[in-house]
């Protein structure tokens, strides 16, 4: 210590000086060298002396400090220290390790010191001065901060799952203790894409978001370029003034934020620079980064890079499994039984959302001259495709893909440019938000079939689809759709053929009610085999047939037509079902192309009710008795026709009573995969019992058994015959007086009810017959005691009523009402026949019954 005798203008308390001198002389060497600062103040805040350390810390030479107050030398320090001293002086409690924060002389750094204040006493205990120590803990503070941030970073990575949340968290950890703002960006395809952004002030953060998310011009930003190219963090005290000018928007933001200092560090992911992290300090804190901060930045950057590497691995694994899944899904769909539209929709859906935000399937038509979008899938599901047909020109991206037989990738700019020139397509896709479009050609047997368009938007995270995978899928989807298109065409043809070959109308016989149904199967491979027919014999009997030709498609339909023709010819010579089957068998065998068929024949006599059956491999018929009981007619199985020569078919007798129903069917009605035939038969019998009565109603309810169940795979043919013994005829003799008309009307109504005519139908017929009867009564006015007759019967669902009198017929013009009467009659019947002679008049009225009209309608 130097000479203390250089006394200040106001002498210190001498005792202080001597105490100081004496006490401290011993420690001089220690104090001189100590890294701790010592200061001695008098009770009026004047510096008595300082050690070299303190001199350095205060930034003022030792000699100049003596006798001066700290407030004169370092007001910033005094502002913090003086109150401490005063507190001590007032309260008497020593201050230990109070923190001091002070800016470095060049203003670039902030230092952290700890100070302790304690009394200097003399032996009497009187306090004569204040001592203060000071120690620099800046380095320690920084280390502690670094540790804290690192722990925080580890926490974020370990606790958050969502990659976006992790990145956001990592951007925030250093705010506000270390930086005012942070931005993390990834470098992909030479574009810097922002991943996370944070700032201490929310409003400023909003401002930062104005920076473009994708920066292709990152090379123009010196710190970023420097970091990426050198692999080293770049410290820029004044970014706006160093190096080349920033791109306009970045410069604008920098000046808006008053960026003071930045550090940009490269993110090394898997050994390659994969992105950057930028920390910035703005006027908000006012400090600048120093080279010492680079160490902490390296640490944090390493943590962020590790997190990103982990995410990338996970994303790769996800993408790989998504690819496998996509292939599997596509494979599944190929094997499914769907029509073209449903298949296309399913394929479109397979790509969304893993590989595209929107997927459209396009098929060519008219010999590949126009293209139609047939299915569109979005994240919300299937949407209606646009109705327009597109010309197949060279320009549309899809057609280029098809021409070159290779997937085409168009970037957003290229597409926007292209579609701006096609106003009609403008609104179809959200052009402004596109990231990429991939067009995959659909090739079927190396012919162009159409294509698939996969659209990804800017803010989505769809996986990339590599060319090889895209092409492979294009081939598979193409083959599958082509197959479906071809099949639909074939199937439509076969169905038309089938329907045109089946009988369009069935015999309508007095006492017989016949109904038939044919439903093609959903299993396209098996359309075309089933057949049925009903042929009238000259004596009123009827031959009924049902069968199933082996095979499918047009060949089976043709075989079925031949069988029908064969049956019509065979019945000219024979009326025995066994013989008829024999003939059909030989007939089929004569044709080498012909296939086999099952067949069941029945010959029925409606007047007696007799049934004779013969069977060639067909499922057994069932009879629903009038009371509701159901019987399965046991028949010998018989060999299908067209299989073997010289087979004979046995015959079995049965009968149909009044109101009984015979039901014939093909195996599509009763066969279900995984079930024995007996179970199906039982189900059929139960359903038939429940709905006995009208043949049409019964057949419809039998179909309902099977059809809702995902549709029958097989064709179904059904035939039902109900025997109805005809109602008795009407025969009345009445007195030719007006009073009898009322009872005639009542008797008529009873008879009509008996034959199944009710309600309006009956009312109308009664009016008509009443008119004829009124005429007859009038003809008889000349003679008393005359009678007239009313007779009626039903034949072929037609009611025939005759009114006969023996009087003299008078022409309608003679009585005005008569004309009206005739109009009325004619308007209410189908046919009016008047035979008038001098011996009497016969009026015959015919009307087809409503039940028959309804049946005709149902069979359309």
């Amino acid at each position: 210590m130097t000479d203390v005798s250089q006394a200040p203008s106001d002498p210190f308390d001498q005792r202080l000086v001597s105490e100081f001198e004496e006490g401290l002389l011993q420690a001089e060497a220690l104090l001189d060298a100590a890294p701790i600062g010592f200061t001695v103040y008098d009770l009026e805040h004047r510096i008595v002396d300082v050690n070299p350390m303190t001199a350095e810390m205060n930034g003022v030479p030792r000699e100049e400090q003596r006798g001066r107050r700290l407030a004169e030398l370092r007001p910033d320090l005094a502002a913090q220290v003086d109150p401490l001293i005063d507190t001590w002086l007032r309260e008497g409690v020593p201050v230990t390790n109070a923190p001091l924060r002070v800016a470095s002389p060049d203003g670039n750094e902030e230092w952290h010191w700890l100070t302790s204040v304690f009394p200097i006493k003399i032996s009497s205990g009187e306090i004569i001065g204040v001592g203060a120590t000071r120690v620099d803990v800046t380095a320690q503070m920084e280390t502690e901060l670094a540790l804290r941030l690192i722990v925080r970073a580890t926490d974020v990575v370990n606790t958050a799952e969502d990659p976006g949340v992790v990145m956001d968290g990592l951007a925030r950890i250093a705010i506000p203790e270390f930086a005012d703002g942070c931005a993390i960006a990834l470098l992909e395809d030479d574009v810097l894409r922002r991943v996370a952004l944070a700032h201490a002030d929310p409003e400023t953060e909003t401002l930062l978001y104005r920076l473009p998310a994708d920066l292709a011009t990152w090379r123009q930003i010196e710190p970023v370029a420097g970091a990426v190219q050198s692999g080293q963090p770049q410290l820029t005290p004044r970014p706006a003034r160093d190096g080349r000018p920033l791109p306009r928007s970045a410069a604008q933001v920098a000046s808006d934020l008053q960026v003071v200092s930045t550090i940009t560090a490269p993110l090394l992911i898997d050994g390659v620079v994969g992105g950057t992290v930028t920390y910035l300090r703005t006027q908000h804190s006012g400090r600048r980064f120093s080279t010492r901060d680079l160490v902490l930045v390296s640490e944090l950057t390493a943590r962020i890079a590790a997190a990103l590497a982990g995410q990338r691995l996970r994303a790769q694994a996800e993408r790989a499994s998504a690819r496998v899944e996509l292939l599997a899904r596509v494979g599944e769909l190929i094997a499914t039984e769907l029509d073209v539209h449903e298949r296309a929709q399913a394929f479109a859906r397979a790509f969304v959302p893993d590989f595209a935000d929107r997927c459209a399937v396009v098929l060519y038509e008219e010999n590949a001259t126009v293209a139609r979008v047939i299915a569109v899938a979005t994240r919300e599901g299937i949407v209606d495709p646009p109705v327009a047909l597109y010309d197949v020109t060279g320009d549309l991206p899809m057609h280029q893909a098809v021409k070159q037989r290779w997937p085409q990738r168009w970037t957003a700019d290229k597409l926007q440019e292209f579609f701006k020139s096609l106003p009609e397509n403008k609104d179809y896709v959200d052009w402004m938000n596109l990231r990429s479009v991939i067009l995959v050609p659909l090739l079927a047997r190396n012919e162009p079939l159409g294509g698939i368009a996969l659209v990804s938007y800017a803010d989505s995270n769809t996986h990339a689809l590599d060319d090889a995978l895209a092409l492979e899928i294009g081939r598979r989807v193409g083959a599958s759709l082509e197959h479906a298109v071809r099949f639909e065409t074939e199937r439509a043809t076969a169905e038309v053929l089938q329907r045109s070959l089946l009988p369009t109308s069935l015999p309508s016989r007095f006492g017989l009610h016949i109904a038939a149904r044919y439903v093609p199967g959903s299993d396209h491979a098996r359309v075309g085999g089933d057949w049925y027919d009903a042929v009238e014999l000259s004596d009123g009997r009827i031959v009924i047939a049902i069968g199933d030709v082996v095979g499918h498609g047009p060949p089976a339909a043709a075989a079925m037509a031949r069988l029908r023709a064969g049956l019509h010819v065979a019945v000219l010579d024979s009326d025995r079902p066994g013989e008829l089957l024999g003939r059909l068998n030989r007939y089929l065998l004569t044709d080498s192309d012909a296939t086999m068929a099952t067949a069941l024949l029945a010959v029925h006599d409606p007047s007696s009710g007799r049934l004779v059956f013969a069977n060639a491999g067909h499922p057994p018929p069932i009879v629903v008795r009038a009371g509701g009981k159901v019987e399965i007619i046991e028949l010998p199985a018989g060999i299908p026709i067209g299989a073997v020569d010289s087979v004979s078919y046995g015959e079995v007798d049965a009968d149909l009573g009044d109101g009984d129903l015979l039901v014939l069917y093909t195996d599509g009605l009763v066969e279900r995969r995984g079930e024995s035939l007996d179970v199906g038969l039982e189900r059929l019998c139960t359903a038939a019992a429940a709905e006995a009565g009208d043949p049409d109603v019964l057949l419809d309810s039998l179909l309902e058994l099977v059809l809702p169940d995902t549709g029958a795979a097989d064709d179904i043919a059904l035939l039902a015959i109900k025997r109805v013994i005809p109602a008795p005829g009407l025969a009345l003799a009445l007195d030719a007086t007006p009073e009898t008309l009322a009872s005639l009307r009542q008797d008529l109504r009873d008879w009509l009810t008996n034959i199944g005519a009710h309600g309006r139908e009956a009312d109308e017929m009664i009016v008509a017959v009443n008119e004829a009867a009124a005429n007859a009564i009038e003809h008889a006015y000349e003679r008393v005691g005359e009678r007239f007759w009313v007779e009626g019967y039903v034949s072929n669902d037609e009611a025939v009523i005759q009114v006969r009198d023996a009087g003299r017929w008078r022409p309608p013009q003679e009585v005005e009402d008569r004309g009206r009467g005739f109009d009325l009659m004619r308007g209410l019947v189908d046919a009016l026949d008047v035979r008038a002679t001098n011996d009497g008049t016969e009026v015959t009225l015919r009307r087809r019954l409503q039940r028959a009209r309804e049946r005709d309608l149902a069979s359309i």
Binding site: A733, S743, N770, R820, L824
Partner: protein, 119 residues
């Protein structure tokens, strides 16, 4: 034709028609018809309506809610009455509450356009 020969028709005649009149002394009296109108009962209907015209009615209403049957003779009565009404300077014969079956008869003969039908 099955059957054992002509059968005698039922003994009791059903036809009966009865009538009553409402609003007799107003300028639109109404005749209520009950039962069936055929050749045996239409003369009685004519008589009732004629009486109303003779009583000076210019406009007639006939209520058929309880009439279940009408034949051409009944229609003839209505047409004749309308003509007579008009000859006397009267205006209209209004048909009320025509039931479904009789309505059919009006329609076939076109008389639904001749009469005003109120239901």
């Amino acid at each position: 034709m099955a059957g054992t020969g002509p059968r005698e028709s039922s003994e009791e005649p059903y036809a009966a028609a009865s009538f009553d009149v409402a609003d007799v002394n107003t300028n639109e009296p109404c005749l209520f018809v009950h039962g069936e109108i055929d050749v045996s009962t239409s003369p009685a209907m004519r008589e009732q309506l004629q009486r109303l015209i003779d009583g000076g009615a210019q406009r007639l209403a006939i209520d058929f809610r309880d009439m279940s049957f009408i034949d051409s003779s009944g229609l003839g009565v209505l047409v004749g009455i309308l003509r007579r009404l008009r000859e006397r300077g009267g205006s209209d014969l209004v048909v009320r509450e025509l039931q479904e079956a009789p309505r059919r008869v009006f329609e076939i003969t076109g008389l639904d356009r001749l009469f005003t039908i109120e239901n």
